[in-house]
Symmetry: C2
Subunit: 237 residues, 2 copies
């Protein structure tokens, strides 16, 4: 199955140009063919192609399907973007594939990257959503200062993962309560969170955690944290 993406399909009844070209030129669909289109907000539409003009490929909606999210915990990964942007883009693709609700780029004291292009990350998330047959694209926030993220992100369980062994922490894999309603995991930059940041979060109710004995790169840590939640939920259904 190939999914197209048209966030405003309900009002425009049109495929965006890039998707239209793919549909008509690569897949050689023609007027009358049925194509599947998601709005990235949880719905998938079976549509009939009404025009084969790649600049304005109009459709008629035949059926509207509510695509339930396959996981039940609302997951936020708040992560300091890596210096190397490829690694951050890779992370957005992988988090979207395995399932995440929100990605919050954190601006931390030791952040090596202080700016990001949210548009580009969103395009990558849309592409991963289509490829993995989901119908909801994760919400990607703009760069958010650490303190503001601590204050604004609310959830049933909030964790801050770090490397500094001098501040006690437990394994996320043992601390996480299966099937919790919502959770947030903070992942620091290449140089780790600053001690004051860790203490601020803990003071605000964040649980201090580790992801195991391996020294993981930032993007690997963020993916493993998200995966930990899915795997423990799967095992404790």
């Amino acid at each position: 199955m190939i999914q197209f993406y048209s966030p405003d399909i309900l009002t425009t009844r049109t495929l965006p140009e890039e998707d239209a070209r793919h549909c008509l030129r690569v897949l050689r669909k023609s007027v009358g063919d049925i194509v599947e289109v998601t709005d990235g907000k949880g719905r998938r539409y079976k549509c009939r192609l009404m025009s084969d003009n790649p600049r304005k490929a109009t459709v008629e909606i035949v059926e509207s399907i509510d695509v339930a999210q396959s996981w039940h915990t609302d997951i936020t990964i708040a992560v300091a973007p890596t210096k190397n942007m490829d690694r951050m883009e890779w992370l957005v693709e992988k988090l979207t594939e395995i399932g995440v609700n929100r990605i919050v780029p954190l601006l931390c004291r030791h952040s090596e990257r202080k700016e990001i292009k949210v548009d580009r990350l969103q395009r990558i998330a849309v592409s991963a959503m289509k490829q993995s047959l989901k119908a909801t694209v994760p919400d990607i926030w703009p760069m958010t200062p650490f303190k503001r993220a601590v204050a604004e992100l609310t959830a049933d369980a909030r964790y801050i993962a770090y490397c500094d062994p001098s501040i006690p922490r437990k394994l996320l894999a043992s601390e996480y309560e299966p099937q919790c309603g919502s959770c947030v995991v903070f992942i620091g930059p290449e140089g780790d969170f600053d001690e004051e940041e860790i203490k601020l979060a803990i003071g605000d109710g964040y649980q201090p955690v580790s992801l195991g004995d391996s020294r993981l790169r930032t993007e690997t840590a963020a993916l493993c944290a998200c995966d930990t939640i899915h795997i423990i939920n799967q095992r404790n259904k």
Copy 2:
């Protein structure tokens, strides 16, 4: 901490040229300084630099440390290499970071990639081992035909993960027995395993598994499978 890699340090007492240049030119170490060197076989050596010639940087071994692996299950990931080699290289890096003992590139009926450069993958694994402060580099096999891999890979638990919903399977996250001695997980190519391959493996005692409801790319599936084992082991220590 920076680790250098010299597989034959015990016999040569010399850093390979690339590591020597990094040590002398980038880190500006000089004669008498202590550097840490791993042999990639589970040992780390504290060494004193005896020469600052980057072509022949000799060392004296001051201390030899046995670096125990931080996980207790011997993990083999047997995976059909992706068409796009970048994705396979990324996978080798990430598996090495989170911890894997053996990577077996599988040649399957639907494989789009039929050849790989093992040397290049080994270099990536060495670099990820150094970066994640491990002292053992995973064993990377040459491309191995599916049938031969089924026959040759022995372990306490063997799993084959696939997408085809017509052949019953259970979640790896629920099937995996914590702290098992050794395990193998098979991950198929972009077009999934062929039905005959799945049946052959099951006939040989492999447990049929799924990695959840998301359609994952090959490299994501392979990483999530390895991570599942680590996370369930961590939770059930």
